[in-house]
Amino acid sequence: MTSTESDVALPSLTARVLGWIGLAGRLYLGYTFITAGLDKLPHHSTTELAVRAYQLLPWQLAPTYATALPIAELLLGILLVLGVFTRSVAVLLALGLCSFLVGITSAWVRGLNIDCGCFGGGGQVSDPHYLEHVLRDLGYLAIAVYLIVVRRTAFALGDWLFGRRD
């Protein structure tokens, strides 16, 4: 291969590798949010208890939030796995993760002893793992930001549905 050919092939190869990394990130983050949604969805009262334990939202808003959150997590996770509206979904997930980080750090700072309720459960616990939860959410946030930046991922259904120029 001449130097000119390798120069031309390099960006394409880089884009392809980034796309495959994006696919891995998409599947991992999507699976995570689908799991989180499915863990919460059948246990509405427990989710509501977990939301109330943060003592952030008004009492009347907690049931609505507890209903909407698992559904949103499930839908966004499915869209991410399929690769439909990937960048928009990543923007929403990044925003959601920022709000989770505000909630967890807020509970930590206020000295509450609660479980994050991220994958079901929630409420009072004797030994909360705030640092672990914060680091985990920061990792998820990094993946979401990567998906926003990389723009194109491999095997995205959206590319076939809407063309590759969006």
């Binding site: 952030l56 939202l57 929403l92 925003l95």
Partner: protein
């Protein structure tokens, strides 16, 4: 309390929290608007802004409640 163990004053913590929250909301709004304007096939705008509203409520109430407790 976290801010005592990290030797950060309550006022500094609250200012930091509010600044970060504001940045998240402003950057988030910009990204949502940018997504809706630049994509050829954007997702439904109402869904995007509704999701943003949910985040906004949690972030604003989270920052306000935390600031109230920390400074109180």
């Amino acid at each position: 309390m976290l801010c005592h163990s990290w030797h950060v004053s309550e006022q500094s913590y609250v200012v930091g929290l509010c600044v970060v929250s504001l940045i998240v909301l402003v950057v988030g709004a910009w990204f949502v608007r940018h997504e809706l304007r630049t994509r050829q096939q954007p997702p439904p705008a109402a869904v995007m802004w509704l999701a943003y509203l949910g985040v906004l409520i949690v972030v604003v109430l989270g920052a306000a409640r935390t600031s109230w407790v920390v400074l109180g």
